[in-house]
Amino acid sequence: MSGPPFAWQANLTPMERGATGCSMSTEKHAMSRLPVLRHFYTVADPFCDISTQSLTLKMLLLSRCFYRVVAILMLNTLIIFACFELATRGVFKIATVISKPTEQLVGEGSPREKVSYYSSEDWAKLYWYEFRLSRTQRYYPYVGWRRAPFKGKTIEIDQNGVRLTPGADCSAKAFKVFTFGASDMWGTGAPNWGTIPANLQKGLAKLRQGPVCVMNFAESAYVVMQDVIMLLMQLRSDNVPDVALFYNIGGDIYAAYQSGRAGVVENLDQMAAKFEGRRKPFTFVDWLRSTNSYMLIDYLVGKLTVANPQQNEPTPRQLLTYESMGIDVATLSDLIAQDYLRNYKIVNTLAHEYGFKPFFFLPPNVSLGNKPLTSEEQAMKHEAESDVALYKLATAVYQAIERESSQYQNLYSLVHIFDRYDSLMWIDGGHVTPSGNQVIAASILDRIQTPSSDKK
């Protein structure tokens, strides 16, 4: 049987057999006197028929041909992108199924995970894995956010977003200690048994007769006002402590550094934008960045490239900070210090009313104090101080509060707490190792262990 081998070919006209839908003409090159156009016909589209003498018609046909070429190329781009996107989605699905989550997550985080302290701790890998999993935040009334409930081997968070303190016995007659603060008091870098509250629990349990209940109300990125509100919420529900510990200032400094205002929460602008329904316009590039294709290329490019040494992180000058807003560091630091001391007074008044003993501690900072730093800590200090605006503000706030601290009976600075320690204590600019937490807890314990701190 003769004829075209496939039916679909038999039905096509000669024009349709060409890729662009145009038919081949042998005289087309001769017809075009412009070399550029001739090249266009021969190279870009060998199937376009412009075998006509009329210049107007020639231009018209050329336009049609050009349109077809562009249309086919664009359509092909879309089809190929869609296919690629589907394929990459499949790749990621398969990768998710076959890879263990721990391998995916561990070691991809911040440099603090690779601090030498953790290399000898068998719980460290699991801890940082659980740390990532437990970072989910939920809305919490009045304070904005708290972590979602989580149950791991190194991190456990209850329904109220409160991190577990091992050994805490919160029965009716227990000696209650409420700790407030940000991520450092929450215990970033430490498993449940290595946080400051856990060490306080152990210390108090040894020192005191009867049950001891240390509750960790700290939460990442909290400012002191949120700590105070957390305390208020406990008091309102008739959960009155014997001792309330406030271990925070970093949150207030960072919030002011971001927004140029004292007495606000961290990430104020983003939260306000979310609440007000303001959104950054979602551009085509943003959409591309959200595709699986982009993610796959990003992963592969990450394997084949290195960071440009001449263009690393954006310099602090490029970030929007109080400094770029033209706000004076002295003024802002004074305002932060005043807010802090006013919070102290509010808590003190509540303490008189409810009968608990309040303590305020200024946490240590790698850039302040005189600790003999290890080489790793020196790198952390260097990194922390590379953001000059933040460093200047933190220094000014600490100085302002320390100037006033003598007038406040239960306000202590722990800035020099590590001055006697040679070994590694820091894991980054603001968080310490479980050993560091132990030292801090011992210091806090010294201060709260006075006869007046007994149950009212």
């Binding site: 049987m1 081998p5 690629f84 290329i297 394997k303 084949l304 490239t305 960071a307």
Partner: protein
């Protein structure tokens, strides 16, 4: 690649493109030479001077030889070529044998070889040999300088021959869609091989888990499997790196309608060592064959022991060409011995008429060749003789096969890429065979049964015929995503220089 590199390359490309369209041969050659000298001058004006002096010297030697063909004139030409090569390439290695801090050592460190010197020196020598053997080559000074410095091949070959280049420099080539298409495809293929596959094999999936770490960071304790995979992996690394580079330069030259000699032809599919050496670094191995092995072997052909000896000498020279290191000499010697043993094996096979099914025999022969070639790469890459010996000891110690010293990703990655290469090569051949069957069915102009392979052949044919209609959008999309990712990451490509720029 720095901005100034891109700038220079753009000017070089522009000069070549403009020169290519000029109707006058001489003007075109002048622009090509200007582009080539500009390209070469980017590595140093001093180096360019050496290249120009070498070109002039070879041209004068060639003229003298043409006037009167004598062996003494040829030897003078050879010596004048080899002396600078010895000074820049081999003397530093010898001087650095002295104690660190001594003047010899410091001098050795200060001598830097002009880029591509081994390649263009051999091009100059091949010209002298061709004149001596009375080949019909009569270049002008301009043409000869262009031959020596032609920018796509000046840095790392392929080693060209004047008889094939001269006609191409003299003819005006029209814009040719085939050249443009094939050249671009080869360039893209080269980029993928050099900057993706070779890079990943070299550095590993995670830092310190690649072939480079296996040779440079480990001081000992390799297991048998480690050494085999390091040998196989380095073979593929070298192949992707150098064949990728060759594809790129051949592709660029092809875009401008100039065909450079091929350098690789699926070497890992070779079924005998002799075939391997007709497929691996072909421009050098053919050079050695034509100008070293053939003349010397022919001179003593009445002695049966002479050709094997010349073969070993030729291969040792091949190894020595890479540099003044014992490991290179042993690499050449090893391959010389393998080739001689292969020849003896062939003779024995004829005498004893060993019969195996053809496919089994071919597979066993391929396996033996692949294994021997991979072991040879241990000599090539080892940092010193002690390391090479320690690695080979692991191969021949059965107990070492229970010991695995490399990271887990290394085994997965290296074996995946090696197996992937064969799968892709076989898949490509299969697609071509389907397409051929489809064409055959079409040519018979009869209704074939709607066989699965014919339908696939039709699809392959459809996509091949309209290659750029889908490849150009796909590449544009990929390029856009890569640029976007790199911009977002503020990253730069971790370009490892082509391995053969070191030789």
């Amino acid at each position: 690649m720095m901005i100034q590199d891109i700038g220079t390359l753009s000017v070089v490309l522009l000069l070549t493109a403009v020169g290519w369209r000029l109707p006058s041969t001489k003007e075109r050659q002048i622009l090509f030479l200007a582009a080539s000298y500009l390209f070469y001058a980017h590595s140093g004006i001093g180096f360019l001077s050496i290249l120009i002096i070498s070109s002039l010297m070879n041209y004068i030697c060639g003229c003298a030889l043409r006037r009167k063909v004598t062996a003494s004139r040829l030897w003078i030409g050879i010596a004048l070529n080899l002396l600078p090569l010895a000074f820049f390439k081999y003397l530093p290695g010898l001087l650095e044998l002295g104690p660190a801090g001594s003047w010899q050592y410091d001098l050795g460190r200060q001598i830097i070889m002009p880029i591509g010197m081994s390649f263009w020196t051999f091009q100059g020598l091949s010209y002298l040999f061709d004149v001596y053997f009375e080949e019909d080559v009569d270049p002008s000074l301009l043409e000869f300088c262009l031959y020596m410095a032609f920018w796509p091949s000046v840095a790392s070959g392929p080693i060209c021959r004047l008889p094939s280049m001269l006609p191409q420099f003299r003819q005006v080539s029209p814009l040719n869609w085939d050249d443009l298409s094939v050249g671009s495809l080869r360039f893209i293929q080269g980029v993928m091989m050099k900057f993706v596959l070779a890079q990943i094999l070299g550095t590993g999936w995670l830092p310190g888990e690649g072939i480079t770490a296996g040779f440079d960071q480990m001081k000992g304790g390799w297991g048998g499997v480690d050494v085999w995979l390091l040998g196989i992996g380095y073979g593929f690394l070298l192949f992707f790196d150098f064949a990728g580079y060759s594809h790129m330069v051949i592709g660029i030259a092809r875009i401008f309608a100039i065909r450079l000699p091929e350098n690789f032809n699926r070497p890992f599919l070779s079924t005998t060592p002799s075939i391997f050496w007709t497929r691996w670094h072909m421009s050098l191995s053919f050079w050695i064959r034509d100008y070293v092995f053939n003349p010397i072997a022919t001179a003593g052909r009445r002695y049966s022991w002479w050709p094997p000896v010349v073969l070993i000498i030729s291969m040792t020279l091949f190894g020595l060409w890479h540099g003044a290191k014992w490991t290179f000499i042993v690499y050449g010697l090893y391959h010389g011995l393998v080739l001689v043993i292969h020849r003896l094996g062939q003779q024995m096979q004829r005498q004893f008429s060993v019969r195996l099914p053809r496919s089994v025999g071919a597979f066993l022969s391929w396996g033996a060749t692949f294994g021997l070639v991979s072991l040879g790469f241990i000599f090539f890459r080892a940092n010193d003789w002690t390391q090479a010996w320690a690695m080979l000891s692991a191969v021949f110690t059965p107990a070492a096969y229970g010991h695995f010293a490399m990271p887990r990703h290394f085994y997965t990655l290296t074996s995946t890429i090696a197996v992937g290469y064969f799968v892709v090569t076989a898949g490509y051949a299969l697609l071509l065979s389907w397409r051929a069957r489809y064409h055959e069915a079409m040519s018979k102009r009869r209704e074939p049964a709607a066989h699965f392979t014919l339908i696939l052949g039709a699809v392959v044919d459809f996509l091949t015929e309209r290659l750029w209609w889908w490849l150009a959008p796909a590449l544009s999309m990929l390029a856009f995503l890569v640029v976007l990712v790199m911009h977002t990451r503020r990253a730069v490509i971790a370009v490892t220089p082509a391995i053969y720029t070191l030789f």
